[in-house]
Symmetry: D2
Subunit: 334 residues, 4 copies
Amino acid sequence: MMNDSSPLAVGVLGATGYTGRELLKKLSRHSRVRIAFATSESEAGAPLRRLVRNAPDLALQKAETAPLGEAAVVFSCLPHGDSSRWVERVLAAGTAAIDLSADLRVQGPETPEWAREAVYGLPELHREKIRSARLIANPGCYPTAAILSIAPLARRGLLADAPVIINAASGVTGAGRTPKRELLFAEVAEDFRAYGVGNTHRHLAEMVDQVGKVSTGAVPELIFTPHLLPVRQGILETIHITLRKPLSREEATAIYREDYGNEPFVEVLAEGTPTLTSVVGTNYVSIAAVPVERVSTPMLQVIAAEDNLIKGAIGQAIQNLNIMQGWPETEGLL
Amino acid sequence: MMNDSSPLAVGVLGATGYTGRELLKKLSRHSRVRIAFATSESEAGAPLRRLVRNAPDLALQKAETAPLGEAAVVFSCLPHGDSSRWVERVLAAGTAAIDLSADLRVQGPETPEWAREAVYGLPELHREKIRSARLIANPGCYPTAAILSIAPLARRGLLADAPVIINAASGVTGAGRTPKRELLFAEVAEDFRAYGVGNTHRHLAEMVDQVGKVSTGAVPELIFTPHLLPVRQGILETIHITLRKPLSREEATAIYREDYGNEPFVEVLAEGTPTLTSVVGTNYVSIAAVPVERVSTPMLQVIAAEDNLIKGAIGQAIQNLNIMQGWPETEGLL
Amino acid sequence: MMNDSSPLAVGVLGATGYTGRELLKKLSRHSRVRIAFATSESEAGAPLRRLVRNAPDLALQKAETAPLGEAAVVFSCLPHGDSSRWVERVLAAGTAAIDLSADLRVQGPETPEWAREAVYGLPELHREKIRSARLIANPGCYPTAAILSIAPLARRGLLADAPVIINAASGVTGAGRTPKRELLFAEVAEDFRAYGVGNTHRHLAEMVDQVGKVSTGAVPELIFTPHLLPVRQGILETIHITLRKPLSREEATAIYREDYGNEPFVEVLAEGTPTLTSVVGTNYVSIAAVPVERVSTPMLQVIAAEDNLIKGAIGQAIQNLNIMQGWPETEGLL
Amino acid sequence: MMNDSSPLAVGVLGATGYTGRELLKKLSRHSRVRIAFATSESEAGAPLRRLVRNAPDLALQKAETAPLGEAAVVFSCLPHGDSSRWVERVLAAGTAAIDLSADLRVQGPETPEWAREAVYGLPELHREKIRSARLIANPGCYPTAAILSIAPLARRGLLADAPVIINAASGVTGAGRTPKRELLFAEVAEDFRAYGVGNTHRHLAEMVDQVGKVSTGAVPELIFTPHLLPVRQGILETIHITLRKPLSREEATAIYREDYGNEPFVEVLAEGTPTLTSVVGTNYVSIAAVPVERVSTPMLQVIAAEDNLIKGAIGQAIQNLNIMQGWPETEGLL
C-alpha cells in the first residue's frame, strides 16, 4: 500500500483520548504517513500498540520530550485551553499543525499574532486556503454538520429574518474520556438530556462566525441546543430554517447538490433522512432537506448526521492533511 | 391496603402490548380496583401471572368473550383503528371506557354520534369534565408533554406569531411490541433517527386541537418532529416558543407554577432541566422553561420529560379513573 | 396505608450511592417506617427530595452529625472498609444496624468482639436468627443468588466432588457511583468483560462460607467469575453443578420448591429460565434448574436472576428489617 | 491498491442480512476482488449502494437469476437449511463455494456425495486443506472461539476427564435480521438471558467434532451455554478446563503462543483478558488462559473474544478466500 516516495512523518499530541486513539488508528492505516511520535501525559512509556493493534512499534512519550521538529505535521488532540500553547511550539519548530481543539477556531481581537494564520479546516468551505495552510483550526463536531447544513441557503440569501434552530444530539465520546459521574454508564444508559440550554453552548460562536462569513444578506441568528445520547458515537442535527421563499424537496436537494455534488464526503439525500448508524464509522456528512408542511411560513427541516469522532474530528483532520499535501482527498478515509 | 368498600371491577382490552402489561401491573397494585378480565387475541388462555407476577389468578381471554358489562370501567389498549369499535361495544354494555388509542382524541365531522361525549383525558386541562365522563379519550404520549408545555403561555396570549417548534425523542416502547425490522435491537442500538419529518406525524392534530382550545389570541402553528431513542422508556421534548414579550426564568417558572402548582403530577423546575431518567417509572411530567440568549426576539426553550408508558399512557389513564371515581388522584400512582 | 402504631424511625448512612438512593425510595414508600436521617459526605445540606421525589422534607447531613441513637434501626450503605466502624458506633448508640457492606459477612479470627453477634441476613437460610438480631450483615449481590442456587443441593448431600462453577454477569450499578474511567458509558456500552478472573473475586469467601454451613458431606469448592454487563441493573448467574446422581428437571424443581415453596421472594421455574428483565425492579430471585444433556456425569445447570440493587442489596435489607420487627415480610417490597 | 492482475470475480448469495452486508463492505474494499453479483429475495432490484456506500454500481438480484458460473468464488450467506442446495448449484456451475451456513460443517452418514469434499474453514487448524479446497464450510461464530481455545490443550493431551464448560455471550447480530419479538430493542436492552440451556444448542456438534479431531487421548465432553447480550456485535467465551497437570499463566501462554504465534489473527494475551470491544470491528480472536486459584484440581480459565460477524463469519470467509487464492492472508482484513 506504500507509494514510491517515503512516507510523511507525523506526530500526535494527546493520543489517549477518544479522538487521539481514533486518529492513531486511521494514521496507522494511511499509506502515505508514518507516525513519528505520539504523546500522553498519563500513559507515557506504554506502547502505542496497547492503544491500537497495528500501530508502529513506538512508546507513548510526554509532550515535553516529543521531537516536534522531526514531524512534517503535528496533530493536536489536547484539551481546549491546553492545545494552543503546544500548537505555538509546533509552529516554532518549523512544523505544520492541525489543531483539533476549539482554541483557534474563532479569531478575535485577543487572538495572538502567531495564530492569525490559522485556517478554519472545513474543506467544503475553505479548501483553497487549506491547500497552502501551515496551521489548521480543525472544526468542532457540532459546527461541522450545522455549518454544512446552513451554508448553501445562507450563501444564496435564502434565509428569512428568523432564528435558525439547531437541535443536536451526540454520542458520549464527544464528551471525552476523563471520568465524570454524569458520564458513567449507569447515568447515561436509558437517559437523554439537553445541555447548554438557553443557547449558551460554547460551540455557538464557531457556527455563527462561519455561517456569517458565507451569508449574503443579513447574518442569521442561531439557536443551538445539544443533547447527550446513550450511544458511543455519532451526531444527528435537526435544523429548522425559515426561508424567504418556499423550496420543494427537489429544489432544496438541487441546491445542496450544486454545492456538494463533487464533495467526496458530503452526501445529499433525495429521499429518506440520515440516521446515526448510516454514517458512524465513516467520514461522511449525510444531509436531507425537507420542506415543513402545515405552516404558513416557508420553512425547511434539514437533518444532518455525521460521526463526531471522524468527520467531526479526526477524519476531517486527515482530510485536511491530504489537501495540504496535495494527496487524494480520500486517502486513508474510505 | 383495601379500603372498606368492595373494589371496583375493571377490564383491560389488549393486555399483552407494552401499555397493556404496564397497566396490569399498576392495576394489580391499586387498592381500590380488581381486574375482572384482560384480553389478548394472540395469548388467550395464558395466565395473567405470566405477564405480571402479582396479577390476579385469571387467564387472558379473547375480546369477543370478555364480559364487558361486568366491569364498571374498561381500559382499551387496542391498536388505533381497532380500538374505537370495541369502545363502542363497551359503552353499549353500560360500562364506562378509557380509550388509550388515538381514535377519539380529535373530534371532527366524521366523529360518530356515540363518540361525541368523549372527554380528552388530560386532567390538568379538563379535570372537571373528566369527573363526570363516561368515555375518556386518553391523550397521546407526545401530546401530553407538548400541550402541558405550551398551554400556560397560550392561555395567557403570550405566543408571538411564529411556529412553535417541538423536537421530541421517545424510547422504543412507544412504537409497540409488534416485531418490525426497524425496531430490532441491532437496528436501534447506537442509532438515533427522526421520523414524521416535514411535520407529517399523526400526533400533530391532537396537539393543535388542544393548544387551540386554550389559546387566547391567534392559535399558534406547531411543528412537531419525533425521534427514536435507543432507550426503552421515556420522552424528552425540547420546545422553542417565540414570545410577545421577554420572560426571565423566574417569570416563566412563576407562570407555570401558577397553573400547575397544585397538580399532583406536574413538576416545574426553577433550576436545571429534566432528563429521561428523572421521570421514567413515574407519572410525572417535569418541565423547565428557560429564556433563549443571544437572539433579538424574545423566546423560551421549554424542556419537558415524562414516561411515555405512564404519564404518556397508562398512568394518566389511572389518574383519569381516580378522578372519575372521586378517589384520591394519586391512588396507585406513587 | 398507615397502620395504627407510630412508624419506626430509621436512618441511612451513605444515601447518595446507587444503593443508598434506591433504599431511600423504598423506605419512603414503606408504610411502617419514617426516615429520621440520611447522610452523605459529598452532598450534605442537599434536600433528600433532590434524590427521591417523595422523600420526607429533610436535608442530607454528614455522618458525624447524625443522631444515631434516635433511630431504631440504621442501614449502612457506606463503602466496604468504612462501614464497619460506623456500624460499631450505631450499636454503641443502642441502635440496631443493617450493614450492606461486605465488612461483617464472613466471621474470622480477626472479627472484633462487638461484631461477633452479626447475623448473615439471608432470610431463606437464617430467618430465625434474623428475627432476634440486633446486627445484620446483609448479603452480597452475587452471593445471594449463588447461595440460594446451591444450598438445596448441598443441604441434601447431592453435590459430587467437583468444583461448582459459577459464571455471573451484573449490571454496572453493582460497581458503585464513584467516577472511574472503566465505568464510563463509552467504555461499557457494546462491551462485555470478565473480572476477578482466576477465581480471585472477594465475594468468593462469602459464598464458600455460607454453602459450607448448609452442606452435608464434603464442602464443595466454588469457582466464581463475574462479568460486567452493559445494563444498569440485574444479575444473571449460570451455575454448573456436578451431582452424585442424576436429577430430572421435575425432580430438581421439586427439591428447590421444597425449600423455597413458602418463600415470598424466591421463584422456582418449572419451565423456561429467568432473564434479567424478569426480575429487575423486584425483590425476587428467580431460579431454574435444568439437567445437562450429552455428558456422562450427572450435572445440573442452575440459572438464577435477581436485581442486584434490590434482592441483592436494599430489598433484602428491608426484608430483614420486616423480619426483625415482626412485620409482614413483603411490606414495602411488592 | 490494485495489483497488476485483473480482480477475481466473486458472488454473494443472501446479501441483505447482517453477515451479507458486512461481507459486501469488506469485499468492496478488498483490492483483489470485484463483486460480480449479490442476491436478495426480498430486496431484489435495489442498488447495492443502498446497503454499502462504496459498493460497485450493481443491483441486487434474485438468486435464481444470479450468473453463478461467472464468479470464481461464491459466498453463501443464506440461512441454514436453504444454503446447501444453493452451494450444490454453485459447485455444479464449476465455481468454488464458501458456505457460511451450518449446513456442511459436520459431516455424517447423511452428508450427500457432492458435499464430502467440504473443508472446515478454520485456517488455524486446516490451512493446508483450505489452500486446495473448492468447497469451504465456514465455521460458526461460537465454535471458532471455542475450538481455538481448547485445541492447544486437547492436541497435547492435557485435558483431564471432566467436561469442558463453555459459557458464551453474543451480540444480537448473531441472531439474524428477521424480525422476531424477542429480538426487539425493548426486549433485549437492559436484559441478559441464556438460551440452548441444558447443553442443547445446535453449535455443540461442530465444536465436539473439531475438538475431537485434534485431541490426543480421550475426546473431551463439552457443555456449551450461549447467552444473548444487549450489544450489537461480539462474542465473549469464558471456558473452564480441567487439566491433567497444573499450568501457570506463563506456561499456558507459551503453549498457546507455540500454536498461534505465527497466526495473523490470533492474539494470545500474557496479561489481562480480552473484552468485546478489544476485538469488535476486527478479524482477531483474542485469548487469555489463566489458572484457577482456590481449587484442588488443576484448572484453566480461558477467556476468548472475537467479532461474531468478522472472525466468526465473514472475515474468516475472506481469510479462507485469501488462502485459497494464495494471496496474503490479511488482504482486506486489516
